[in-house]
């Protein structure tokens, strides 16, 4: 048994020993209950309890509480202890209320009165206890009650130093928790700032934290702190460690104060005043110099303290980003750390380098230090971050190669992120498609095998990678034979990820003939290779392979027999999987009844996927009918106008070219075009109904028997609905011009949605649940009548083609067909959201203007968020719901850099404008945003939750959205990711 520790309260020590000696949880519980009964009894009946006894019992209650048991009595006794004039009793009283009663409303006024008494007492120790208690609890009532007392203590000349320290931090806590209740008098500003100069370094240390918080709130008012911070810093770093006896920590003078000062300075741009600026530069220089001096102690504490200051100095240098010599020195210093034996230092160096990689001066210097061999996962993660951050056109090949090499041995936990990063870099910096294909196939080979499909977004991202590979091969005739070759080779590996089977299957089905002359990959070998994987694959992959086999029947008639055998085989022909069975039966029939010519038509090579047209071109085309040659002049939004100006020549001609190509392809390949359309149609159908495909797909056999019906390639490659899948992964596709300005009405309910020289169109939306009432105002800007005016709202892409699952139902009011000069016509639309949608509607407009027919088509900025209704909820509720939405597809998270300076108010307004709520007090970090909303559609109500976390230092945001229905979270994230 241990000695009786806890001197002073013997009963407490005995009780603690007893608890520790309990052999079982039950015994402990019995002992506790016995004690609780005893204490309750004492409190109730014994009127002669003295201060010591009360203190002892309250302390026991506290101990029991800290063991995890509820305490529902003894509050009064604890509060009584506050008015004791003995320190030890007061301390236990304060401890009890700040640990146990910090949220309860009981006796609040009594407690506040006791605190007030202590704050006004002459005993600094009591004042300190009271301040510490307020700082620990930090609630609104206290902010209101002591809004004068605490600042008075802080700036009064009579206050002793330890009280000032507590007062400063007490004020900081109240400022954080209830700044609205705290009246900060501007007369105090100067006095508070001057605490930086306080002789007592402890006071300065405490005060800097307060000042930094106030600076963040009102930088202008506290601007004066820059000078004082610089001079204080300068005095510390230039002095010897012996000058600061008490505050020297392992030969480093006041390291924590230095760190805090350097952080305050990161809230401001470099000082304007040249003398201050040069003094600051000297400080930073000195800090960098000291890092080169030999260590004064072998203890890690010494180097840590020194480097704490050094890293903060480097942060400031990066923040100022203007002194190239300092930047280069900082970078070299970090480079040295990368070689250091200390894991901590390597980790921190990599972290800082990520920041530095974005600074132009240091970019080259950073590149020298590419290194990834590390034992600690977190360090390697930083290294990958750094590689990613510093990748550019010149080093992309090396970096991607390096990341791939590393991926083979990378830790499980960081693979998914690496896969994504490699795919992005590969796409972004692809110089030729062969290289791109190499990289992507390698990626699938390496990561496909190891990364579990359960990892939520890995599945989505990797899935998109293989879709994308196929898309590239299909669209580039120059890499088709190369693609077929390397895909074939990749599949020869012993262990192969299923995604690799899919890619190879698809590619060989289309272009296997291109490598069939090579004796190593004659048709039969191709077929056998694929079929050797068949039985190991999931049903969806098998379906895809069956289609490949069918394509082989056309490409290689000589192996038709073998394929028919496979199709006829029990396990396919009578498969328990409906889809496999259907395909087997239909393909077999197809191969038996069709002539080679019919087969060749049915099984023709897939047409190219529509290339993504740049948003700019789409915009230009939209403008074209009206502007006729005067491309650059008109009043589009600023960003486009600027680009127009720059690229005028090239884009102009390009537009023409594109148009020409389009028309010619229309004329010649009309047939193919329709096939393509239908095929897309089919793909979209199957995407939404993956489980019940049999209903929605035309049965090929029935089409054939009905031979006049157009032949579609409807059933081929169901899973390859590239367009839809990949669009959330890659920069936005053509559907919506996604520049900042064009997502109009995203946060607002009314705006001008279109304008040119002739016409201005305004829209005003009002949504209730799933019904949006929209008022459109068409304004004729000219001096002539517009006649035969007919607007119509059509649905684009996926919306219109899925006739049987319409997303939106639009009910438009008839309007008169003439708009007189300089007048407006109003049209009412009622738009019902039947189902969540992705693409936004298109507005088509035709009219006559001085007898010339005009046609306009533009995107009508009605986004899905307009059907969100905000929901208020408390923290418990929020997190409960958040946790429940954890299935794959329900969450989408994006990290993106800030387009505008990060401003709390601005973010909050946007989020509210977006439609959902902005819940205050849910997230422990007050800089973050959380909220909730319900997306109303006719069929369903979809719950949506979000969390937005700004990071001011890196100027990045992290947005996480969770929604109860697949794809909704992704869509909402896409809408917001470029808006902050």
């Amino acid at each position: 048994m241990p000695n009786m520790r806890g001197d002073g309260m013997r009963g407490l020590a005995v009780f603690i020993s007893d608890i520790r000696n309990c052999k079982s949880r039950e015994a402990e519980l019995r002992r506790i209950n016995k004690e609780l009964t005893n204490i309750r009894q004492r409190f109730r009946t014994d009127k002669t309890l003295d201060g010591y006894q009360k203190k002892k019992y309250v302390c026991k209650l506290l101990f029991i509480f800290l063991l995890g048991h509820d305490i529902d009595f003894g509050y009064m006794e604890a509060v009584n202890l506050l008015s004791s004039n003995k320190y030890t009793e007061k301390q236990i009283g304060y401890l009890f209320i700040s640990v146990i009663m910090n949220n309860s409303t009981e006796m609040k006024q009594l407690i506040i009165q006791n605190i007030r008494n202590d704050l006004q007492s002459r005993n600094p120790i009591f004042i300190n206890l009271a301040l510490q208690c307020v700082a620990n609890i930090g609630e609104k009532e206290m902010a209101t009650a002591f809004t004068n007392d605490i600042p008075r203590l802080l700036i009064s000349g009579d206050t002793i130093d330890p009280v000032k320290q507590s007062a400063a931090l007490c004020l900081l806590r109240l400022h954080r928790t209830s700044s609205d209740a705290l009246q900060m008098n501007t007369e105090w500003t100067g006095r508070i700032i001057h605490l930086l100069n306080d002789q007592h370094l402890g006071v300065a240390t405490a005060a800097v934290s307060l000042i930094e918080a106030l600076v963040k709130r009102n930088p202008e008012e506290y601007k004066g702190c820059v000078n004082l911070a610089v001079s204080r810093l300068s005095r510390i770093v230039t002095s010897s460690y012996t000058d600061f006896q008490d505050y020297t920590y392992y030969f480093v003078p006041a390291p924590w104060l230095c760190v805090k000062l350097l952080r305050v300075l990161q809230n401001y741009p470099p000082p304007d005043d040249p003398s201050i600026r040069s003094r600051l530069n000297e400080c930073l220089d000195t800090i960098l110099n000291k890092a080169q001096e030999p260590l004064k102690s072998k203890k890690v504490q010494h180097s840590n303290a020194r480097n704490a200051v050094l890293f903060e100095a480097i942060n400031l240098i990066i923040h100022m980003d203007c002194e190239s010599t300092l930047l280069v020195r900082a970078c070299n210093q970090l480079g040295q750390f990368l070689q250091n034996r200390e894991t901590n230092l390597r980790y921190l160096a990599l972290e800082s380098m990520c920041l530095l990689a974005t600074s132009e001066f240091s970019h080259d210097a950073v590149k020298k230090h590419q290194e990834t061999s590390e034992r600690d996962v977190s360090v390697r993660q930083r290294a990958v971050d750094l590689l990613y951050a510093m990748c550019d056109r010149s080093n992309a090949q090396d970096i991607v190669q390096e990341m791939l090499t590393y991926l083979e041995t990378a830790d499980y936990t960081i693979r998914e992120e690496m896969v994504l990063k490699i795919a992005i870099l590969g796409e972004k910096y692809a110089i030729d498609y062969k290289w791109y294909l190499d990289i992507m196939l390698k990626l699938i080979r390496i990561a496909g095998d190891f990364v579990s499909e359960e990892v939520i977004y890995d599945r989505a991202e990797k899935g998109k990678v293989w879709y994308r590979v196929i898309q590239v091969v299909v669209n580039r005739s120059d890499v088709q034979s190369y693609g077929a070759k390397i895909a074939f080779e990749a599949l020869q590996a012993l262990a192969c990820h299923e995604n690799m089977v899919k890619v190879t299957g698809y590619i060989l089905g289309e272009y296997g003939n291109l490598i069939a002359l090579d004796p190593r990959s004659i048709p039969m070998i191709q077929f056998e290779l694929l079929h050797s994987k068949y039985h190991l694959c999931s049903p969806t992959t098998r379906c895809l392979l069956l289609s490949t086999y069918m394509k082989f029947v056309n490409l290689f008639p000589e192996i038709k027999q073998h394929i028919q055998e496979v199709l006829r085989h029990e396990s396919n022909f009578r498969s328990s999987d409906v889809e496999i069975q259907q395909r087997s039966i239909e393909y077999l029939k197809l191969s038996e009844v069709c002539t080679p010519t019919v087969l060749a038509t049915v099984l023709e090579v897939m047409p190219p996927y529509p290339e993504k047209v740049s948003p700019l071109l789409v915009r230009l085309k939209q403008k074209k009918p009206l502007m006729d040659g005067s491309l650059s002049g008109a009043g589009g939004d600023e960003s486009t106008a600027a680009v127009d100006g720059l690229n005028h020549e090239s884009t102009h001609t390009e537009t023409h070219k594109t148009n020409e190509q389009l028309t010619s392809s229309h004329a010649i390949n009309l047939n193919q075009h329709t096939v393509q359309q239908q095929q897309q149609n089919g793909l979209l159908v199957s995407l939404d109904n993956e489980s019940s495909t049999d209903e929605n797909n035309y049965s090929l056999a029935s089409i054939l028997s009905n031979s006049s019906a157009p032949i579609t390639s409807n059933n081929f490659y169901k899973q390859s609905s590239l367009d839809q899948q990949q669009s959330s992964f890659y920069p936005k596709p053509n559907s919506v011009p996604s520049t900042l300005g064009s997502k109009k009405l995203l946060f607002k309910t009314s705006d001008v949605i279109f304008e040119n020289d002739l016409l201005q169109i305004g829209a005003k939306l009002e949504t209730q649940k799933n019904i949006c009432r929209c008022e459109l105002y068409f304004g004729n800007k000219t001096d002539i009548n517009m006649t035969s005016f007919s607007p119509s709202l059509a649905l684009t892409g996926e919306l219109i083609q899925q006739a049987f699952i319409l997303e939106l139902r639009v009910d438009a009011e008839q309007i008169k067909s003439t708009i007189e000069p300089k007048t407006q016509t109003k049209q009412m639309l009622t738009i019902e959201c039947l189902k969540e949608f992705r693409d936004i509607p298109k507005m088509n407009l035709s009219f006559f203007y001085s007898n010339v027919p005009q046609k306009l088509e533009f995107s009508f900025p009605l986004y899905i968020n307009k059907f969100i209704e905000k929901v208020e909820m408390d923290s418990n509720n929020f997190f409960l719901r958040w946790k429940n939405l954890d299935k794959p597809g329900q969450e989408c998270q994006k990290i993106f850099s800030a387009k505008n300076p990060i401003d709390h108010e601005d973010c909050s307004q946007k989020l509210i404008g977006f439609g959902w709520s902005n819940l205050v007090g849910i997230d422990v970090n007050t800089e973050n945003f959380c909220g909730a909303g319900i997306l109303h559609t006719t069929g369903q109500q979809i719950g949506c939750l979000y969390r937005l976390e700004p990071n001011k230092q890196t100027k990045m945001y992290r947005l996480s959205v969770r929604a109860s229905k697949d794809t909704v979270a992704t869509r909402l994230t896409e809408l917001l990711e470029d808006q902050f």
Partner: protein, 142 residues
Amino acid sequence: MIRFILIQNRAGKTRLAKWFVNFEDDEKQKLIEEVHAIVTVRDAKHTNFVEFRNFKIVYRRYAGLYFCICVDITDNNLAYLEAIHNFVEVLNEFFHNVCELDLVFNFYKVYSVVDEMFLAGEIRETSQIKVLKQLTTLTSLE
């Protein structure tokens, strides 16, 4: 800013939990368990920092005790790592070769030490001499 300070032993028993923001009681319990789970599995050769939810934990192990400080992502890692050590040295001095049992039996005094050195989630006092002097004064009081 410090969100909380935890001292736990290897078995996961909490020896100190100091919260600088208001959490619900069951949230506190969850945080304690999560921190224990991520910190104890780490190798001694690993960094003393680990990302945790949207914060990070700066921690150091002393014998069987883990001292963990949860701070914001952008906070200075080394400064808090040494703040832990500074705190441990003060405890060591104050309890004359501190051991785990001192923290158990004198839990209410440990809170006083914390309040002297950390307040409102910030570092209040860093001078060991000053802190110990103040603590000695307090101990001498009735």
